[in-house]
Structures are given as structure tokens and as C-alpha cells.
Amino acid sequence: MLILVVDNRGQYTHRIYRTLRNLGVKVEIVPNTSPLREIKRADGIVLSGGAPRISSGDLGRSIEYVREFQGPILGICLGHQAIAIALGGKAGPAEKGEYGPVEIYIDKPEGILHGMGGRMTVWESHWDEVKEPPKGFEILAHSENCRIQAMGDMDRIYGVQFHPEVVHTPRGREIFDNFIKIVKGLI
């Protein structure tokens, strides 16, 4: 099994790599300008975070990957917003940014948030947010200042606004565990 981390030049790209590696899967970091056929070798892809604003963010070919890649996709921060834009949802500036520790409320402990009910503290670093999920997507979690902290098509495409890859998101590892299970067809 191979997971590719698409680098949108976020600061934590290497952390995504490291978390997955520590969970025992084969993983590589690839630039977000890689040709689609490069991406298609993967069994699942993770779209990293990146430049602080979606309008200025250099998404490379991330939008194309979301539309064309047939396997499981996990978008993080900017990657989560890219999923919304690619599939007909909306993303843009929030009224308030979120930085550092934030409490989120899990509305639906399924899919990428499988087995993770209730509240949990996550680490955030964003100003933009998903305004409207793509059609057919469900909202899985929210926070006081952000309505869509996690969303998914409940099949193979999920996005999270926060950063499960940093050590300050205590239960972040479970999210990657869930993603691996989704790739393996266990969730």
C-alpha cells in the first residue's frame, strides 16, 4: 500500500509523512505539480496545508487530483478547502481566524472521525475556511468559530480544517489510522 502526501508547501507536510510512516505504511512526499499519472500510482493521497490564504495559495494541480484521483483522499487545512472548491463547494475568508488550541465538537463520529465522539482539542492555523461543502458531503465536526471542521462524502473523500499531524492535536494519530483503514476498505 502506498500513500502519497501532496505538498502544498505547508509547514507541516513533513509531519504528515512522519505520522503515516510511524503507522507503518509506505509513504512519499510529492510536489503539487506532479503529473496526474504520478499520483495515480497511490492507493490513497493526503493533500497538505499550505499558504495562509486560499486566494493566494499555490494549489498546483491539487484541484485536478481531487477530481481525477479515484482512491481515498484526505485534505488537511488548505487541502480541505481545495476539496470543497474542486467539487462545487465554497471556501473563503472566515470572520475570525483560529490559531493554536481549539476545541471542536464532533457531530458525526463516522468515516475519518470513526470512533471519536464528543469534544476534542485540536491545533489550528487558518484564516480561510470551507463555507459550503460539496453536494452530498456531510459535516462531521464544528467549533465555535468555524462551522465545518471536518467533512466527508462518507465513502472516500474527507477534509479536516485542523492539523491532525502535529503533536499538539492529541488524538490526531487516530485520524490517520482511520484514513489508512479507509484506504484498506475497512471503514
Partner: protein, 306 residues
């Protein structure tokens, strides 16, 4: 993590990279440069020359640690006193990035001089993954990474894929003294980036003392933050010491909690610690009339101020 095979692999990679060439490395007393030096020593023996550059921005204990390491691991060590050069180089510079760049460039000039005397073509550096990532992302210029102009030397960075906690594991395996492994990270440009605005000798003395006090009290209170330090702020604040008005300097205390420096939370010390630090700083450093405590995580702040 299988440390013993990582060590074997890195040593053979360095051997291959440097071949029969010679290399230099600057030791700072920190765990990254220490581990890089030991690995390189294993790979190329005494074709490695270690240097310790006294920039004037280092702490007393840094040199002591370097002495201890070089003795224990039989590293060839050359010390260079460049205090005046560094202070002159950044005199009057207020912009933090410019400060970092100038310090980096002077380091490079010194490295090139030493390398040419020793006949080395390679510069080994203790760069670790977050340094590479922050420099690439344009957050901060790290003195380890080429962001500061390229030296005429080939760069070898054995630890560039590893994080601090992994480097510490490798260090333990190599039997590096625990005070080096457990010591808090210290920035490459040293105290120069803990002085907001321009750096003068007077400000350096104040900052050195304030940092010593913070570190001593962290030890006494048995606290275990990732980093704990004092920053000399720009500007002044009114104080009253012994019924006399004093328009004095301001220091800010920062304690953070982290594992890899990529994100950091505030490390909340007990109130008694803050009281003690405040009382010592204001009584032992006459220029200071005000002590602040930073409550910002990373993000949105970075760990260091500049």
C-alpha cells in the same frame, strides 16, 4: 525507530559523500551539531576538524559543553574568538531577518577561512527537518541552511530528515552526555535574536544575565519546558525603584512546550516561579523595571521573537 541501523546507514552515507576529502563542522554545544560531528568522526576519522566560534552571543555553558564533547569523543577542536567581528557586523541593524542574514554570512566567511587553512572541501551541519521546512516556507532564515548565501564548500547535512526527538534518541545511543541531550534548544544566532532591534554590548550583557536567571530558576523549580528564555524588548517602561522614578528596560519571559518545534504550546509555570524570576531579574539587573510573560502559542507566534 531502529537507531543502530540509522547510525550505520548515516555513517556509510557520509563516508561515501566525503570520500577521502576533509571536512569541518561548527560545534555549538547543542545536540544536533554534536550528533552530526560524532557520525562524521566515525565516517572520516581525523579528517574532520571541529570549530567553536565564540560569537559573543553564546552562553558560558555552551563553550563548556563543547569542551566536554570534544574530549569525550576525541574530536579535533579549534576555537575562534570572533566577538568583536560579530558585534560590528550587526551594529545598528534593526531588521530581524537582516540580522540573521548578516550573522549567517559572517559564519560562512569564518567557515571558509578555516576550511581553506585545513584543506577541507566539506562543511558538515547539524540541520534538522524543521530548519529546512521553515526556511523553505519563508518563515525564518535559519543559519544552518543555505538561505544566507552559499559558501564555497559542499554541504553535508546528515540529520536533515530527522526531528529533534529522533536526534535525541540517536544521541542517547551514541552515549552523548545527558546535559547535551536534555538541554533546551538554543538558536544558532544565539542571544542576538533575543534582543529586539539593534544589538549593543550593554543589551547583550542584560540579556545574558536575564537568560541565566531564567535557566537557573527552571532548574531549581524542576520545570521541564521545551524552551525557556528571556527576550529584551524594544522601548522602555516607567518604574519606581527606591522612591526614584526610572524609565527602564523591559524583558519578556517565554516558556514553551513542544516535541518537534513545529507547534508549541505555552508551558505554564507555577506562579512562584514567575514571582521569583521577576524579583531576581529586577534586583540583579538594575536596568530592568518590568518583566512580562508571553502567553502566545505557536502558531500564531513563533517560539523565538525574531
Amino acid at each position: 525507530m531502529d537507531v543502530s541501523s540509522i547510525v550505520k546507514e548515516k555513517v556509510s552515507e557520509i563516508k561515501q559523500e566525503i570520500g577521502d576529502g576533509k571536512a569541518i563542522i561548527a560545534l555549538s554545544g547543542g545536540v544536533d551539531s554534536t550528533v552530526s560531528a560524532i557520525l562524521t568522526r566515525k565516517a572520516i576519522g581525523d579528517r574532520l576538524l571541529c570549530i567553536y566560534v565564540e560569537t559573543g552571543f553564546m552562553r558560558k555553558k555552551d563553550e563548556e559543553k563543547v569542551d566536554k564533547i570534544s574530549r569525550k569523543f576525541e574530536l579535533k577542536l579549534k576555537k575562534i574568538d570572533a566577538k568583536d567581528k560579530f558585534l560590528r557586523e550587526i551594529s545598528g541593524v534593526r531588521d530581524p531577518e537582516e540580522k540573521r542574514r548578516r550573522i549567517g554570512r559572517l559564519f560562512i566567511r569564518i567557515f571558509e577561512e578555516v576550511a581553506s587553512e585545513f584543506g577541507a572541501d566539506y562543511l558538515v551541519q547539524g540541520t534538522i527537518a524543521p530548519d529546512v521546512i521553515e526556511s523553505k516556507g519563508g518563515i525564518k532564515t535559519h543559519h544552518n541552511v543555505g538561505g544566507i548565501g552559499k559558501p564555497n564548500l559542499k554541504i553535508v547535512e546528515p540529520l536533515r530528515d530527522y526531528y529533534k526527538d529522533e536526534v535525541r534518541e540517536i544521541a542517547k545511543f551514541l552515549d552523548v552526555p545527558s546535559e547535551v541531550i536534555e538541554d533546551m534548544p538554543f538558536p544558532g544566532p544565539g542571544l542576538a535574536v533575543r534582543i529586539m532591534g539593534d544589538v549593543t554590548e550593554e543589551k547583550l550583557e542584560i540579556t545574558k544575565k536575564a537568560n541565566e536567571i531564567v535557566e537557573e530558576e527552571v532548574q531549581k523549580f524542576g520545570l521541564k519546558p521545551w524552551q525557556a528564555f528571556a527576550v529584551l524588548m524594544e522601548g522602555r517602561a516607567t518604574g519606581v525603584k527606591g522612591d526614584l522614578r526610572q524609565y527602564g528596560r523591559i524583558v519578556c519571559i517565554r516558556l514553551v512546550d513542544s516535541i518537534d518545534a513545529m507547534t508549541a504550546g505555552v508551558y505554564w509555570p507555577p506562579r512562584e516561579f514567575l514571582e521569583r524570576v521577576c524579583s531576581r531579574i529586577t534586583s540583579e539587573i538594575p536596568e530592568i523595571t518590568r518583566v512580562l510573560f508571553d502567553v502566545t502559542p505557536k502558531p500564531p507566534a513563533t517560539i523565538e521573537f525574531e
